[in-house]
């Protein structure tokens, strides 16, 4: 067990080292800079130079990199170049909203997608399957921001639901109201994908020999489905859910912008526009950490569930 966590920690460190180095240098290669972004295109070169010096950007780049690394090693993500606030503080204040969105979308996507996939597999080639497959094809061909626009036009506006911003978690009703549409927009696309994966997985398992054995024993169809199809089938769904979650965190970037939701995504987009190097670096590092941890959790969960990974 200790070895497992040690390995996990090592993997996290290695990934973070690679990712943070890459983002540090790549972002400095993008044209423009924080000073130009703040002062505008017409600012005098003099003013730009002064601001750059104030921001510490005139130091040799390897000195900056060293400073960044030593800070990072202490868990310090530095201060925003635009407002001077602590980057980790800003991220921590918006991260829950992004996670909330990704988790809600994951739940919607998996609930709808898995159910649909199972129904399609059980009624393979009959009307529920055909209808379900057409639906998921439509869902897959729409990008989530387009679904978001449709949802706003045809659901939020007629019903008078709020279409932007977030509400604090303590105001649960209002929080969920504002969560619903963005989560749906992302969840629908995720459900379409999930239903396809689930369907092909379940169709495969239904054709397996042990299912025939169960039927030959005289086991009820419902029980065959639960114990002999869904239970063995739930295992491969675990890593698929992990992948979906990671995709959803990425999707959140777009959807948060569409719904003007404060979150990691919109923070990152704004920081990128302002060339706020430290904030962009911080966001990427946090996202990477989340991804590595989710992967590890999925891995651990899979091991707990699959009897084949336990030795006799």
């Amino acid at each position: 067990m200790a070895r497992y966590f040690l390995k996990l920690f090592g993997r996290l460190l290695l990934t973070l080292a690679v990712v943070s180095t890459a983002v540090f240098f790549l972002i400095r290669l993008t044209p423009g800079g924080p000073a130009v972004a703040m002062l505008g295109q017409d600012a005098s070169p003099d003013a730009v130079a002064r601001l750059n010096e104030k921001l510490g950007l005139t130091d040799p780049v390897f000195l900056q990199y060293w400073k960044f690394l030593t800070q990072l090693a202490q868990g310090d993500l530095g201060e925003s170049l635009t407002n001077g606030l602590s980057v980790s503080g800003t991220i921590l204040s918006v991260l829950p909203h992004t996670l909330e969105l990704a988790i809600a979308a994951l739940i919607i996507g998996k609930l709808v997608g898995i159910t649909l996939g199972i129904v399609e597999a059980v009624w393979k080639d009959r009307s529920p399957d055909v209808i379900g497959r057409i639906m998921s094809l439509v869902g897959l061909s729409f990008p989530s921001f387009f679904v978001a626009v449709l949802l706003v036009l045809f659901i939020a506006l007629p019903l008078g639901l709020p279409t932007n911003g977030v509400a604090p978690f303590v105001e649960l009703g209002s929080n969920l109201q504002r969560l619903l549409l963005p989560a749906l927009a992302m969840g629908i696309v995720s459900a379409a994908y999930t239903s396809r994966v689930t369907r092909s997985l379940m169709v495969e398992i239904i054709g397996e020999n042990h299912v025939r054995t169960a039927r030959a024993k005289g086991v009820r169809e419902g029980r065959v489905l639960v114990r002999h199809v869904l239970q063995p089938g739930s295992l491969p769904l675990v890593p698929i859910a992990g992948i979906s979650f990671i995709t959803l965190v990425g999707d959140a970037v777009l959807i948060e912008t569409v719904f003007a939701r404060p979150g990691l995504g919109s923070l990152m987009v704004n920081a990128m526009q302002a060339r706020d190097y430290t904030t962009v670096q911080g966001c990427i590092i946090v996202v990477t950490t989340v991804i590595v941890l989710v992967n590890a959790a999925v891995d651990a969960f899979y091991h707990v569930l699959d009897p084949r990974t336990k030795t006799a």
């Binding site: 042990h210 054995t213 039927r215 030959a216 024993k217 005289g218 239970q231 063995p232 295992l235 006799a312």
Partner: protein, 352 residues
């Protein structure tokens, strides 16, 4: 569960053998595929008596498995469909039962073991639980005590099929057992409800020779203990010679010859059977060498497009240029006794 309402409506079959524990009458099963309708099994009739082993042999695709699966309602539908026929077990026509009654009969009246023991058990449940499930499935609302009893019975059954340390094995998952052990588990599971008929579809094909012999010995032991009728589907003439009382030879979905093992192997009355036996090194029932069926020259007919007369005609050495074989479907008839039958127009001319 004993749902017999259906049976009482349908009454007794017209011609089942009086001591038959399984009577198949005029079974016809087809598959509808994109390339046309496959006549997988056509007009197959036979009887299996209690305590007897009936061997079913024939080339790949001749309809052996479809015959067996039809009895348990395991034909995937679509594309498959049992078009007609009756399968009588214990006074019930399985093909006339509703889903619920057929389910009640599956496993308790007729049990089945399959070719591939490696994949025939559920990978995520313990062995003991899988055996117990077969028992509990046939009980109405099993109580806690019933569950406990089923669990104990599962261990007893494992012991009875020669699984060492049955208590411990019952707690293990299939991946922890070898192929031979898994086939023993399958047999234990099949015998858990004292079936009248055990269908064994190539039960030893996936196992190596020593294990094969052990499994066949086990099946014989089980049969002596329980008097179960066994339908043994196989490619292996050696297996047939040593383990079987009567033989059914299938070709292109039809029974072409049937009789006692001695009659069919020593005095075959159908050119196809002759061909089958000629392809094996020795055909004496006493010979202990393991032999495989090797195909006869030529290919089996396309099952979506069977010729009008005898299906074997294109490959038959006996036919010569006789028109009858192409025009008229030969029916099974005594060769020469009622016990030994062949579906050849010229069975009198067949020489081994």
């Amino acid at each position: 569960m004993t749902d017999v309402t259906e049976t009482e409506i349908h009454g007794r079959p017209q011609t089942p053998a009086s001591d038959g524990c399984l009577s198949v009458r005029n079974l016809t099963t087809v598959f509808t595929t994109r390339r046309g309708t496959v006549a997988a099994v056509t007009d197959v009739s036979f009887d299996l008596r209690a305590g007897e082993t009936l061997g079913i042999v024939g080339e790949s695709g001749s309809g052996k498995s479809v015959t067996a699966m039809s009895a348990l309602g395991l034909i995937p539908q679509p594309p498959g469909k049992v078009v007609s026929g009756e399968i009588w077990v214990d006074g019930k026509n399985l093909l006339a039962l509703d889903r619920r009654s057929l389910r009640a009969a599956s496993g308790s009246d007729v049990a089945m073991i399959f070719q591939d023991p490696m994949t025939s058990l559920n990978p995520v449940h313990r062995i003991g639980a899988q055996i117990a499930e077969g028992i509990l499935t046939h009980q109405r609302r099993p109580s806690k005590a019933d569950r406990e009893a089923a669990r104990r019975r599962a261990v007893e059954l494992l012991a009875a099929v020669g699984v060492p340390a049955p208590e411990r094995r019952a707690q293990q998952y299939p991946h922890e057992l070898s192929g031979g052990m898994r086939q023993r588990v399958m047999i234990a599971m099949a015998m858990s409800c004292d079936p009248k008929v055990l269908i064994a579809d190539e039960p030893t094909t996936a196992l190596d020779a020593t294990i094969q012999a052990q499994i066949m010995r086990l099946l014989r032991e089980v049969q002596q203990r329980t008097n179960v009728g066994i339908m043994l589907i196989t490619h292996d003439i050696g297996l047939v010679a040593q383990n079987v009382d009567r033989v059914l030879v299938m070709y292109a979905g039809r029974v072409v010859e049937m009789g006692t093992v001695e009659e069919v192997l020593e005095n075959p009355k159908h050119p196809y059977t002759v061909g089958l036996l000629r392809c094996t090194p020795s055909r004496l029932p006493s010979d202990s060498v393991r032999r495989r069926l090797t195909p006869i020259p030529g290919l089996p007919p396309n099952p979506t497009d069977l010729p009008p007369g005898c299906s074997f005609a294109p490959r038959c050495g006996l036919r010569g240029d006789r028109e009858l074989c192409l025009l008229e479907q030969p029916e099974l008839r005594p060769a020469p006794t009622d016990d030994h039958r062949s579906a050849c127009h010229f069975l009198e001319e067949v020489t081994p």
